[in-house]
Symmetry: C2
């Protein structure tokens, strides 16, 4: 059993080629840069376009990371799926790989299904995977899934699987909900991750385990520093600095925006490629974004070098 | 190139065993009963729990039907998926199998993506499948996907792929939308299927191609008769009769309700099994439903016999 993964985790952006196929070497290089800068790897999240990939593609990427020597203990792959069969396959693979945990979406096709059906889904995955090493983090992102992870569901799952259902990512952007999760469950060792570093100074004193945030992809060292030193005299300044960068990316086009910036800072134009239904950032928006980042003194030290051999 | 599939199509219920695995012989038997009763097979739709299955499971079921001699010309498999990679795999397989067409959901994970991204998704599938035999039916079910197929998107796709994008299923339940689809596109050979037989007498005079309706699973002959004879003196009576049965099933639990009835009328208790996040119909609701069906004189001739060898 590996140690609990805490701190700043990136829902890792997935690099595609112009023909929309995976760019595996670029994925490995990006993950290595993230780990070198203190980040954990929440591969296959919403920002990873994981639900735009096949199960086989996800298994291939995960295997490639392991073969490249990226430590499984740094990984929290997304394994939830609308298909319960896919969720079992992905979760089983993650556990066999030694991943620190899995971040599980609820099944997101049917709406209005209720806590009983969602409980059954998670319980079935736990039963089929049948491993004491399984650590599930519940993924609450109701604005996308339209299927919430309620506090009542967390309670039901914690009661039945106290050693397995060990945390949650709250991407609702609703602080009251994050606070309620922390207040109800953190004291019993339930690891709550808000989805934005902007909440770290509020959430960490209440027992949050860190954050799993899109912008960790681009600002891993800054967010890691905030996670480590939020309660030192430097804390407020680190929070303010992280917030400035976060705010520049925050938009409905956050994924294309981050990928466009990765293209700029790596020199690999294909970093800007997204899979449909997402659409690339248009050039006007890109120019504006890059100007704002420059004005804010944003940099990605070592990023370009990571991709020189890939 | 096969002939266009029209008439009464069933989004075929998928039989699972108590352990949630596929029951392939029962699936074949159900499809055979449907075809024998005049229905087309929209396998892998919402009512099929298709998005609760893996791609491999769907390919396995489709192959099993072909091997059992069920004609591909009767099939319109659902091949849309949140993953563009899965959509390509499923659509390619359907075309190679000789299916009459494919019913394609939009990618349904991301919300608010807009027509450009949805167009890109369908265009990519068309490009990758690269077959003149491909016939796409767009699947509009916004209350589930939260991603609508707008008239503007249909227009864009028709313009670019006039021989490939040939129809739509409108599951919105919004007659104004169905009528608008018919008014705009039916005259050019675009086949619109409402999702309920209750709309047939309104939709067929405007050029609808039939319906793809959940209850075709249980009442195929009745709905087929309505499709064939709506504009005869018998029409109003056939419509009224179909409506009575439809109304009994219409509820948020329509899938579990239909499966429970299939269990009752086949004598196979496992017909009632659904995959999470769906939940079986509780026994009180089942008793009520069966009483209502009995009062309405509902029957499924030949259904039990279909499963005697499976």
């Amino acid at each position: 059993m590996t140690q609990r993964l805490k701190g700043a985790l990136a829902p890792v952006l997935t690099p595609f080629r112009a023909d929309l196929e995976l760019d595996v070497p670029r994925f490995i290089a990006h993950c290595r840069w993230l780990v070198d800068n203190g980040a954990g790897l929440a591969i296959f999240g919403t920002n990873s376009e994981a639900n735009s990939m096949s199960v086989d593609e996800r298994l291939r990427l995960a295997d490639a990371l392991l073969e490249a020597g990226i430590p499984a203990a740094k990984m929290m792959p997304g394994t939830g799926a609308s298909s319960i069969a896919d969720a079992v396959t992905l979760t089983r693979h993650a556990v066999k790989s030694g991943a620190a945990g899995v971040l599980m979406l609820p099944p997101f096709y049917y709406k209005g299904v209720g806590d009983t059906g969602l409980f059954d889904y998670y319980a079935h995955v736990v039963d089929k995977v049948a491993s004491e090493d399984l650590r599930i983090y519940l993924y609450h992102i109701p604005q996308v899934t339209q299927v919430p992870i309620t506090l009542a569901l967390v309670e039901m799952l914690r009661k039945r699987f106290p050693k397995t259902v060990v945390g949650a990512k709250d991407s609702s952007g609703n602080w009251d909900n994050t606070k309620a999760m922390l207040d109800h469950f953190a004291k019993d060792g339930f690891d709550v991750f808000p989805a934005s570093e902007s909440l770290l100074s509020q959430a960490l004193p209440l027992g949050a385990a860190g954050c799993i945030s899109a912008t960790v992809n681009l600002n891993p060292a800054g967010i890691r520093a905030l996670y480590e030193r939020w309660n030192t005299p430097e804390g407020p300044q680190l929070q303010a600095r992280a917030d400035v960068i976060r705010k520049i990316f925050q938009s409905p086009n956050m994924i294309p925006a981050m990928k466009r910036v990765a293209a700029e800072f790596s020199g690999h134009a294909d970093w800007a490629v997204v899979r449909p239904p997402l659409v690339r950032l248009d050039e006007d928006a890109a120019a504006r974004l890059l100007r704002e980042l420059e004005a804010a003194g944003f940099d990605m030290p070592g990023f370009a070098q990571s991709f020189q051999s890939s």
